[in-house]
């Protein structure tokens, strides 16, 4: 009970719950449509999804200020790449929220002449840019960690002195042997994959962030028409990313720190 109260006291938490519910409705609506459910039920699900979507827009009012504040903080990061990625991501997020506020004003009747389609496209574009920057940052973090892991591994090998002679020896598939390139490349690729898996396993916050951003990516890609996934996939991805977001709110240690 205490955990729920503390969790639900954050406005972001309610927005995430609302989002999870919205995409769950979207997924459910798609499933019901495919299995030939009654039109009445489908209409009801669609209506609920619309209410959730509009409700979330109100919950997001004022988030632009928060995103700008985050961008301001990110400017002080020492790492140049991280500084760029995170700052630009937050600025795009601020613009996304601003567009979202305009859409809300349009729907609520404050600004009836708002071109919903135009502003929606604009909003999703900024959202896409933000996600791309997030994934770039994730890729950079992964590369750094992989390099660290490789360095640590090499150092261990050197100290032990066991594998050095093995590396220096030509052996099968060494340079100069024709036809040995392909197995070697495959081996190298497999080693890279294993290394990546180990890095992600050892750093749950990074894994969660990658998964969340990857899942989120499908939403603007579909809405902007860049990659048609269909409402089922979008609903599923939205639901997964919302659950992951809620997870980082419940367990703050799973949040990726810059």
């Amino acid at each position: 009970m205490d955990a729920w109260v503390r969790f639900s006291a954050q406005s972001q938490a309610r927005e995430r719950l609302c989002r999870a519910a919205q995409y769950a409705c979207s997924l459910l609506g798609h499933a019901l449509q495919r299995h030939g459910a009654s039109p009445e039920l489908q209409k009801q699900i669609r209506q609920l999804e619309g209410h959730l979507s509009l409700g979330r827009k109100l919950l997001r009012l004022g988030n632009s200020a928060d995103a700008l504040e985050s961008a301001k903080r990110a400017v002080h990061l020492s790492d140049v790449v991280l500084r760029f990625c995170i700052t630009v991501s937050h600025l795009n997020r601020a613009l996304y929220f601003a567009c979202d506020n305009v859409l809300w004003a349009g729907k609520s009747g404050l600004a009836p002449r708002v071109d919903q389609e135009k502003w929606a496209q604009r909003s999703f574009r900024y959202y896409l840019f933000s996600l791309i920057m997030n994934l770039s940052r994730d890729a950079y973090e992964i590369r750094l960690l992989m390099e660290q892991e490789t360095s640590a591994h090499s150092r261990r090998m050197k100290i032990s002195g066991v594998g050095v002679s093995g590396l220096e020896t030509g052996g099968p598939g060494g340079p100069g042997t024709p036809g040995g390139c392909l197995p070697q490349l495959a081996l190298k690729f497999r080693l890279r994959i294993l290394l990546l898996a180990r890095v992600l396993r050892d750093h749950p916050p990074l894994l969660l962030d990658v998964l969340r951003n990857a899942c989120d990516l499908f939403i603007p890609l579909d809405k902007l028409g860049l990659w048609r996934c269909g409402p089922g996939i979008v609903g599923l991805c939205g639901l997964i990313s919302s659950v992951l977001s809620i997870l980082t709110l419940i367990c703050p240690w799973l949040r990726l720190k810059p």
């Binding site: 009970m1 205490d2 729920w4 109260v5 639900s8 006291a9 954050q10 406005s11 972001q12 938490a13 309610r14 719950l17 609302c18 009801q44 209506q47 609920l48 209410h51 509009l54 409700g55 979330r56 827009k57 109100l58 919950l59 009012l61 004022g62 988030n63 200020a65 928060d66 504040e69 809300w104 729907k107 609520s108 009747g109 404050l110």
Partner: protein, 246 residues
Amino acid sequence: MDAFIRVANQSQGRDRLFRATQHACMLLRYLLESKAGKEAVVTKLKNLETSVSTGRKWFRLGNVLHAIQATEQSIQATDLVPRLCLTLANLNRVVYYICDTVLWAKSVGLTSGINREKWQMRAARHYYYFLLLSLVRDLYEVLLHMGQVARDRAKREKSSGDPPKYSVANEESEWLQSFLLLLFQSLKRNPPLFLDTVKNFCDILIPLNQLGIYKSNLGVVGFGGLVSSVAGLITVVYPQLKLKAR
């Protein structure tokens, strides 16, 4: 900026901001309705008020659990009167939130066979009881503090040794002056109590109007809602100004 973000990051803070907006629109609408050529503005204010009111339901979902927790906490109060008042008040708040959730389910089309008016009256009634009990508790606290101030004053007068001055004429008005002065000093010494009293007093105008017990105009309800929302916001920004159960 930081202060705003801190407030906006709390559900309660954000809800209070939207509530203040909602009631400010109500007040402005009342003030502008009689003016000529302001129809467009009045319509926009009405739309904004409706949108914010509808959207705020999302902030109240799940608050029934908060109210249950508050009820559990109020049972722990040592003083009997606050314990009784707060427990009953919070129980009414739980019922109010349940009614509110039912109304929400109706508005989004999840349930069909719900009588909106009946449930709205039910919600308003329990909200009214909650506020009434909160005011009783506030009154009790005020009386305690007035007693304390009176004792402190008597102690000071005794130590100074001045003879008490009696005048038969204007005895009633003098008593009233003395009472109001005592009340003022008690509230001044205890800002959390003052804020809580103001908030509950302004809030109670809303269900009184809805239930038809005391009819006010749109302006009074709007103003009352605005003042109570601002008072609520102050307690979110400065948690030390929140009234604690003794």
